[in-house]
Amino acid sequence: MNPEIGNLALAVALALALFQSVVPLVGAAQGRAPWMAAARPAALAQFGFVALAFIALSIAFYTSDFSVAYVADNSNRALPWYYRLTAVWGGHEGSMLLWSLVLAGWTLAVALCSRSLPLVLVARVIAVLGLISTGFLLFMLLTSNPFARLDPAPMDGADLNPLLQDIGMIIHPPMLYMGYVGMAVAFGFAIAALLGGRLDAGWARWARPWVTTAWVFLTAGVALGSWWAYYELGWGGWWFWDPVENASFMPWLVATALIHSLAVTEKRGAFKSWTVLLAITAFSLSLLGTFLVRSGVLTSVHAFATDPARGVYILAFLGLVIGGSLLLYAIRGPFTVGNNRFEWLSRETMLLGNNVVLIVAAGTVLLGTLYPLAVDSFGLGKLSVGPPYFNTVFLPLMVALLALLGGGQMVRWRRDDLRRIWLHLRYALVASVVLGLGIAAMLGGGLGTHLSVALGLALALWVALGTIQTVRTQLSGQRKLGGALRRLPASVYGMSLAHLGLAVTVVGITISSAYEVESRVRMEPGDTAVVAGQTFRFERFEERDGPNYRASTATFTASRDGEVVATMVPEKRFYQSGGQPMTEAGIDAGFTRDLYVSLGSPLGEAGDAWSVRLYYKPLVRWIWLGALLMSVGGLLAITDRRYRSTRHRAQAPEQAGEPA
């Protein structure tokens, strides 16, 4: 009975979504207020029914109702209850349902938190979101219904993919979807602006907190994915340029560009068309990512749905949504250009430069991801584009971005004086170069290592010192530091923190990739190995039983100068459902370094000898710490007063010197 309720709820939600998209749109076009007012209740009702479907599926999982095909494929009786619940989004159909739920949730949030927005704008935004929702609900009902029945029901299910039986994979997809789908809100705002034919500073101010919120989730989602790969794949890599990672990285790059261009649109009323185009692009890339993952068009692992009908449907949907919105953009896009002059050296130039680099970066990822497909499509053979390519082409782009960022924050709107900038930043510049070279010399390594470390550190320092110096400049001339600090808007703190976070990530990437020490050794209990001054000792080995797997568990200790500093427990898990054994790395996480042990394979002979990988990874945690700081920075920026007081228009105009 329960699955039928879910099915019915999906169908009702589809009808509501259709209503939610058509009625307010027509109302907005014809100026009928009651029709426009229907948007909010429709969004509320749609959310209710999608949530009902989601709950129905969760119940089916919780009660192990294997008469539902999707449950039978992705769960099993031995699975612990918390994994039974997260298995809801462990496969294709459930992922789509989660997508829809998140979208309905965002729509509801727009409906509830938009009292201060003009009704016509709200109606259009909600209608556009309804349109997207319609597409996804229809997709589910036509090609991937999570409630499809299996007759006769099997006695037990196949099990959730063991890779997903992990905390990182429980929170990673919802986070990422929150980010992806959050871009839909920015998209909705963009389309509403195009339909309305007007776009003013107020529009940018309304859209900004939504975009920033989505960006925060996206940042967290991408970072979580990287963190998960780090500890779950067993050899300590944290970014692979896998098509699916790229699918989440491209929207992130464009969303980051969007945040910056929105700043210009809000503060200066400039780049309106460009901002709208970015909002469309960010969401288009989110959809494209979904397409790449779901359609199996790339030689990608994750394409767990490789049903051609699904691919065709998503491509058609993509064509309709993206093609349609770009066409609308071509027709309505060019907004009137305000009277906003600016000079070569100005905040506007800096932010445009930031946009150019970020968009080229996103374009590069797109090029590298789709290139093998394109070459193959034109019958020119098969080739692979992987990390060596991306690392090579990405480095110069990131150098440009960081170089621009360090000084760019200091530059004023409209026009600035190079001498002023130089006076403020000369010490920061000298310090970052000298310290970068000095620290690299201290840390040692070959010439190549030396140069790359010096470059990475100098850029990170340049960004960090530039950020700090910019805040200091804003405080100068104020009598009481405490009061001045309190008066600084939250957005300044948010921005500065996010930029510092980027610097932290850069330091982490630089140091961990240059000075990681790896050792692959044969070890049996009692053996020791020395890696980077740490003595790793294989203490003991045992077999243990998990709820639905058997694990070979090894216990390692690391000691320094005879004193035990860490205990690590790497495992090899053999799931009852079969498949490859899973490697659980044993990690001792630390602020300055991670110690990382993973079991390779048993070395045939008698005894408990294993091939073991031991790693010393300095500052690797900084990579994610930086991402965390960026997210927190984004959250801080959202709390800025001016977003809460959009109702009161009579505020003092922004000062030209205030940062974005």
């Binding site: 009277n339 002059r341 374009g363």
Partner: protein, 160 residues
């Protein structure tokens, strides 16, 4: 993530199978540069059955065979990195390389980013030059500008 394919391949074990695993042996190197070359090659080569993993990370059995082969080429036979890569591409094709060779079919791939950057910079320069000369005479003072924005904002509020 990249293990999913490995898993799905196992699920399809009937279709294409691999011989039973023999754990990765502990490698020995005569010189540090051999070690460097060996691991650098593993990073650059693709595990063919996994299709999204490098040889360095894959635990598939074919990857192990190929690692043995790379070890034989680069360490036992002491071939250069280029020679080892050439040997493997003759047998497995460019598909095995994660760094595609520069050639007519990959010009766009390799020079695309630089091209995009150039175009971006050119557009940027054009926009700035245009904005500098934009309505020199009618430009508003900051105060006027702010007032105009306020007017626009209150305008849009009327739409409610």
């Amino acid at each position: 993530m990249r293990r999913w394919l490995a898993i799905s391949l196992f699920a399809l074990a009937g279709a294409l199978a691999l011989p039973a695993a023999a754990g990765e042996p502990i490698r020995e190197f005569d010189a540090p540069d051999q070690r460097e070359r060996y691991y650098s090659l593993l990073e650059q080569l693709r595990c063919l059955v996994c299709q999204n993993e490098s040889l360095a990370s894959s635990s598939a059995d074919l990857a192990q065979d190929m690692r043995d082969e790379v070890y034989r080429l680069a360490v036992e036979e002491n071939r250069s990195e280029e020679a080892s890569i050439a040997f493997l591409t003759e047998r497995y094709g460019d598909f095995v390389l994660y760094r595609p060779p520069v050639g007519p079919t990959t010009w766009l791939l390799w020079f695309g980013p630089a091209l995009m950057l150039l175009i971006g910079a050119a557009i940027l320069a054009t926009i700035i030059r245009w904005r500098r000369n934009n309505d020199e005479n009618t430009a508003l003072s900051p105060a006027e500008q702010a007032r105009a924005e306020r007017l626009l904002a209150s305008d849009s509020e009327d739409e409610r």
